[in-house]
């Protein structure tokens, strides 16, 4: 049975996946290539949250999650810059496949480094909002899922406003649609692409820290997040921002509701089946532009 709690949990999971998918699509649009390290950037965000709070506790400081999160976002943004510096910048004039391969290598490096320094066993990231479940209208809701929905919702809204309402966002979209033409208009395309990596990294790390409380953090979880971002983008329409958000939500609905109704295995199977059906019915994805519309 679909309960209000289950729905909130699904929404919270979807909101976290939406952050991952959003970062993936921003880089995809800006660089014109897949950042395969996006999943491991989520994992590193979780690792950063666990490590930072551990270090601070050792130092006798106990920071609430709300203060810890911005720190994690900054660290993850720096990881994004590192990915840009190694996986994009040296290859910026090569075909997109070069960046794809380079970021696969980086993903492996991240995973192995986490394995070496953080260890293989799962750990828990601190909660964003601690305390007993809230009673709303006689129904108990966990605080963490509610906080997650709020934080992720604010971030998505912020990125939306940045893209749609600012000159930087306009320039970003112009670069995504025709990089050379944008450069001929004086737009610093490379800077915007690097900025997209930093933003994508920050969003991924934030998601990792937020998910790390309910679902643990462990060094090997990157690829699973990567696949989710990839599927969300494919369902929504390769490169479409609202499409990726919808795709992320859809994945979370399967993992939560279908999983509760049937089983986790069935949820996975039905998710991939749905993906196939969507792609057969609309090869360009739900929000994809028909071929030819894009320049």
């Amino acid at each position: 049975m679909v309960t209000a709690q289950l729905l909130v949990n699904a929404l919270a999971l979807g909101a976290a996946y939406a952050l991952v998918a959003l970062g993936f699509v921003l880089v995809l649009n800006a660089a014109g290539a897949v950042n395969f390290a996006q999943g491991d950037m989520v994992m590193l965000g979780g690792v950063a949250a666990v490590t930072l709070s551990g270090l601070l506790t050792l130092a006798g400081v106990r920071l609430p999650g709300v203060v810890l999160l911005p720190l994690v976002v900054v660290v993850s943004g720096l990881v994004g810059l590192l990915v840009a510096a190694l996986g994009f910048w040296p290859l910026r004039d090569r075909p997109p496949a070069a960046m794809f391969v380079a970021t696969i290598a980086l993903a492996a490096v991240f995973e192995q480094s986490a394995m070496a320094f953080f260890g293989p066993e799962p750990r828990t990231a601190p909660a964003l909002w601690e305390g007993a479940a809230l009673m709303i209208g006689g129904v108990a809701f966990g605080r963490q899922p509610l906080a997650l929905i709020l934080v992720a919702g604010l971030c998505v809204a912020g990125v939306y406003l940045l893209l749609e309402r600012t000159q930087t966002g306009r320039r970003f979209r112009a670069v995504a649609q025709d990089r050379d033409m944008a450069r001929a208009l004086g737009i610093r395309a490379a800077r915007l692409v690097v900025g997209a990596f930093a933003l994508g990294g920050g969003l991924a790390g934030l998601a990792g820290a937020l998910l790390g409380h309910q679902f643990f953090v462990h060094a090997g979880q990157g690829p699973a997040y990567m696949v989710k971002a990839y599927i969300a983008a494919a369902i929504g329409g390769w490169g479409s921002v609202p499409g990726a958000l919808l795709g992320a939500l859809l994945i979370a609905l399967f993992e939560t509701l279908v999983s509760a109704a049937l089983s986790a295995v069935w949820a996975q199977a039905l998710l991939y089946l749905t993906l196939l059906i969507i792609l057969l019915w609309r090869p360009q994805g739900l929000f994809g532009e028909a071929i030819g519309q894009r320049a």
Binding site: R170, R173, Q177, D178, D180, R183, A184, G186
Partner: protein, 235 residues
């Protein structure tokens, strides 16, 4: 050789094949130089090399006092070069207003005022200001590409076959506007296959064949029916 835009010894090759071979030309302020040539003559390659989008070797490339050689496309644009590419290449997902606004380096108020100025200059675009650019007709997209280039207040404007695919009357309108733009003091380099139409508004013409300039002179002295010219334009 005088002119705001000066090009000397410019060559472009694609994997060993020369597409532009040691070309020299100058475009003075307020003048239109028509760059004529058959398909594959090298017109687009020449313009793209000046804009900085294809690699080239060049002895001199300057805009006013600024040496453009070795600069990135972004810096060439900052120096006052604007480009209207073959096929228009408006940003399809941006609105008409956004397309005009996106290339401007100015505060929001100033950008708004200059966009309004462009919309006043191109009334067809004013009606569609909030439409995504992919919804525009070919002629409207061409106007948009010109407005997008012009709003940056360039010293030199490079256009690659702006009349391609347009109905004769629309093309006529585009060309009238180019004349007005030049009369405002902009140096205009206009690549065209339609010699008659280009010669009608140009001050000078150069004819490119297989990457080299084979003929050049005052536009008034070149007749579109000249057998030498038609021979060259036939490729």
């Amino acid at each position: 050789m005088t002119g705001v835009l000066r090009i000397e010894g410019l060559s472009v090759s694609y994997g060993g094949a020369l597409a532009v071979d040691n070309v020299a030309l100058a475009v003075p302020a307020g003048r239109i130089v028509a760059l004529l040539g058959a398909n594959g003559a090298g017109k687009s390659s020449l313009l793209q090399a000046v804009v900085g989008l294809v690699p080239s070797t060049v002895r001199q490339l300057s805009l006013g006092d600024t040496d453009l050689a070795g600069l990135s496309p972004e810096r060439r644009a900052d120096a006052g070069l604007s480009y209207v590419p073959e096929g228009r290449r408006v940003f399809p997902g941006l609105t008409v207003r956004e397309n005009i606004e996106v290339g401007m380096d100015a505060g929001a108020a100033e950008r708004g005022a200059r966009v309004a100025g462009m919309l006043a200059l191109f009334p067809d675009l004013a009606d569609k200001a909030s439409e995504r650019a992919w919804r525009l007709s070919g002629g409207q997209q061409q106007m948009l590409a010109i407005a997008r280039a012009l709003v940056r207040r360039p010293r030199a404007l490079l256009l690659d076959e702006p009349s391609l695919g347009l109905a004769p009357r629309v093309a006529q309108d585009v060309f009238h506007r180019l004349r007005a733009i030049a009369d405002d003091g902009v140096a205009v380099l206009l690549a065209e296959q339609n010699a008659a139409r280009a010669l009608a508004i140009a001050d000078e013409a150069v004819v490119l064949a297989h990457g080299s300039i084979l003929l050049s002179g005052a536009a008034a002295r070149l007749s579109p029916d000249d057998p030498v010219l038609t021979g060259l334009l036939a490729g």
